[in-house]
């Protein structure tokens, strides 16, 4: 009898220790969000827009980004191709406690226009990615539940269900639920499923390629498929350079109009 109790105690202890070692959904997300250490980043982006008939349009963009602090960053993008949108430039100055500042330079009008930040759910450059999708999510905006682990393309992944922490987040992002697959070895999201406000499956993100650049893991190829509309968009990153300092004045209206 004593032996049995002893055995039961040992088994229980092992189970508790094992459970304690298994990270929670939130801990996994926290690690995934905070793993990157870059402050400055620049690179070339190829954005491929594919409509429901399979017609393709390709936009080439130069992108520059910097993190001012944990929750605020600046991003400047300039179109390189096709020629009818060449030199259109876009600047976002993020604020954690106020509306983001967004400026658009339209060379055809020779004007910098300030535009409203139509919510994080607004489409990025007419693609199926939203500004929220390409930005860094805030940990506390969501609640997390760990689901059963799965493999994606042969890699072990954590599977996390993310629910908006409040109604505002759901409205801002347009997502009522997100399920993420995060690779266990490098803590990078390699697949996501997005659900609309009616909890209907809306979009699927596939990440065919990730790369380690100067010690930072980047999703260098991302495909977002809108299941409801049949559209899809692909973002390919090349020539990524990390932590090469960019001057403060770079992220200003002044530089937005510079064609070089």
């Amino acid at each position: 009898m004593f032996r049995f109790k002893y055995l039961l105690f040992i088994l229980f202890s092992v189970w508790v220790v094992t459970l304690a070692q298994e990270p929670s959904g939130k801990a996994i997300m926290e690690k995934a969000l905070n793993k990157s250490t870059w402050k400055y980043m620049q690179g070339d982006v190829e954005l491929i827009l594919i409509n429901s008939q399979g017609q393709k349009r390709v936009r080439k963009i130069k992108m520059f980004s910097r993190k001012r602090n944990e929750n605020e960053s600046d991003m400047l993008m300039r179109f390189v191709a096709p020629p009818d949108v060449k030199n259109i430039a876009f600047l976002t100055i993020e604020h954690s406690n106020a509306d983001d500042e967004r400026y658009l330079y339209l060379p055809a009008l020779r004007r910098v226009k300030r535009i409203s930040s139509s919510g994080k759910g607004g489409n990025f450059m007419s693609s199926d990615f939203t500004y929220y999708d390409i930005g860094k999510p805030k940990l506390n905006d969501w609640t997390y539940k760990r689901l059963e682990d799965e493999k994606v393309d042969g890699f072990d992944c954590y599977k996390i269900e993310c629910l908006p922490a409040n109604k505002q987040i759901a409205e801002d992002t347009g997502y009522r639920k997100i399920i993420r697959w995060i690779r266990k070895d490098v803590y990078v999201t390699v697949r996501s499923k997005y659900f609309d406000n009616g909890l209907k499956e809306w979009k699927i993100l596939e990440v065919p390629e990730i790369k380690n650049i100067s010690g930072v893991w980047f999703q260098t190829d991302m495909i977002m498929k809108d299941i409801q509309s049949g559209h899809s968009s692909e973002m390919r990153f090349t020539n990524i350079s990390v932590n090469k300092k960019l001057p403060d004045k770079f992220f200003t209206k002044r530089f937005l109009t510079r064609l070089r």
Binding site: R57, P82, P83, R110, S117, R260
Partner: protein, 426 residues
């Protein structure tokens, strides 16, 4: 002509040696047809344009130029019944050099400088003239470049800007000079432009900055009103009765003090712009020159979704030292004809709807309505992106309203337009 030849030589020949790095070549080829809607002429314009752009840059300097080769089969621009161009014309649209320092920049040459933060109506935008006869989807068709030197000094959030405009360019406005006014014959004395001398050059200053979430600027312009002033002289009297009228077009000096702002809140963008026009009619006694006036525009833009944005603006011009009955009487005394004079206050509303449907099609509708006479201007533009770099635009500039009202007078200028544009980059 010599200047043009020099510019073209510079454009093709010298510039690559001056700026050997980072050569960039591009441009567009465009077919355009502008059928008239209320005119005996079939087309306002019909032709093809090749625009080539060349740019070269280094970290400290940048050269940009765009040159138009315009072949027009039909063109009835300029004054009524006066052909402005037919056949081939070659002209530089822009040609400038940028020089960069740490906190200072300069741009020298033929350029566009647009100020103001509201849409379409900009009281503080007084540097580049308009070509009111050629409003289409392409801004370089209806705005005219100026030869200027522009400097910007940046200090923290402040931008100090100075512009020196070397040569006066007026608006291009359709003007029909009457051959008779009532029983009187009208003799046109022509147009008197400001003499080309240093004291007649124009300049503008602007300070821009940011306070909390508001971008704002103060500006000042000293130069000439780009709108013409029409003067009538009653000459000579024969037995107490005037025999004919003399008519002259002049351009008057003006100082303009401006302010504008823009801010955003959620999906809304709020804009405002105001300018005080200090004219040569300081005491309001000259009936030909516009009285000193305040012109302001307040607007709100709502980005309803990624596909739909709505803009509404209210604007008002208030004349100071203005007595309508005095003006009417003075006109009668001068021309022996009753004349429709300005109201002390004129109010206008504008709306702008932009809607994208599908991935490649968008519709824009701009409307301007003067509240007193209910005269209006409409500009619908439908754009379709046929392929990357190939765009088709169709639309119309439609003027309407009672005879004698500002837009009613321009009914003849209503036209449709169809443009096919292929942009390229080499």
């Amino acid at each position: 002509m010599r200047t043009k030849i020099f510019l073209i030589l510079f454009y093709f020949g010298l510039s690559p040696f001056v700026f050997p790095q980072n050569l960039d070549l591009g441009g567009y080829l465009k077919f355009f047809a502008h059928p008239n809607l209320n005119s005996p002429y079939g087309f306002n314009r019909l032709g093809t344009r090749l625009q080539t752009t060349f740019s070269y840059g280094t970290d400290n300097a940048f050269f940009f130029s765009s040159l138009d080769f315009n072949y027009e089969d039909t063109s009835v621009l300029g004054l009524y019944e006066e052909p402005r161009s037919k056949g081939m014309t070659i002209y530089p649209v822009e040609a400038y050099i940028d020089l960069y320092w740490e906190n200072f920049e300069m741009r020298l040459g033929k350029q566009f400088i647009f100020w103001g933060k509201t849409d379409w109506l900009n009281p503080t935008d007084n540097i580049n003239p308009w070509d009111y006869k050629n409003i289409t989807s392409e801004i370089e068709d209806y705005r005219l470049p100026v030869t200027a030197i522009k400097g910007n000094y940046y200090l923290g959030d402040f931008n100090f800007e100075g512009v020196w405009i070397l040569h006066f360019e007026p608006h291009k406005i359709p003007v029909e000079i009457p051959k008779r006014m009532g029983s009187l014959r009208v003799e046109n004395l022509g147009t008197v432009f400001p003499a080309n001398k240093l004291s007649n050059t124009e300049f503008a200053l602007r300070i821009s900055s940011k306070l909390l979430n508001i971008d704002y600027s103060f500006s000042f312009f000293h130069g000439y009103d780009k709108n013409p002033t029409f003067k009538f002289f009653l000459l000579p009297f024969v037995q107490g009765i005037p025999s004919y009228l003399q008519f002259q077009t002049t351009y008057e000096k003006i100082d303009i003090f401006g302010f504008d702002f823009v801010t955003t809140k959620d999906k809304f963008t709020f804009t405002g712009e105001a300018a005080y026009f200090s004219t040569q009619d300081k005491d309001g006694t000259d009936i030909y020159i516009k009285n000193p006036n305040l012109y302001y525009v307040a607007g709100v833009n709502y980005a309803a979704s990624d596909d739909l944005s709505l803009n509404f603006q209210f604007s008002q011009r208030i004349l100071f030292k203005y007595d309508k009955s005095f003006e009417e009487q003075q006109w009668l005394n001068t021309t022996h004809q009753p004349h429709k004079v300005d109201e002390k206050t004129t109010s206008t509303v504008t709306g702008n709807i932009q809607y994208s449907f599908g991935s490649y099609t968008s519709l824009m509708l701009i409307g301007v309505l003067n509240l007193k006479d209910k005269d209006f201007f409409l500009l619908p533009v439908l754009k379709y992106s046929f392929a990357d770099g190939v765009n088709i635009s169709a639309g119309a500039t439609w003027f309407g309203g009672p005879e004698g009202s500002p837009f009613g007078r321009a009914k003849k200028d209503s036209k449709a337009f169809l443009e096919v544009k292929y942009s390229f980059s080499l």
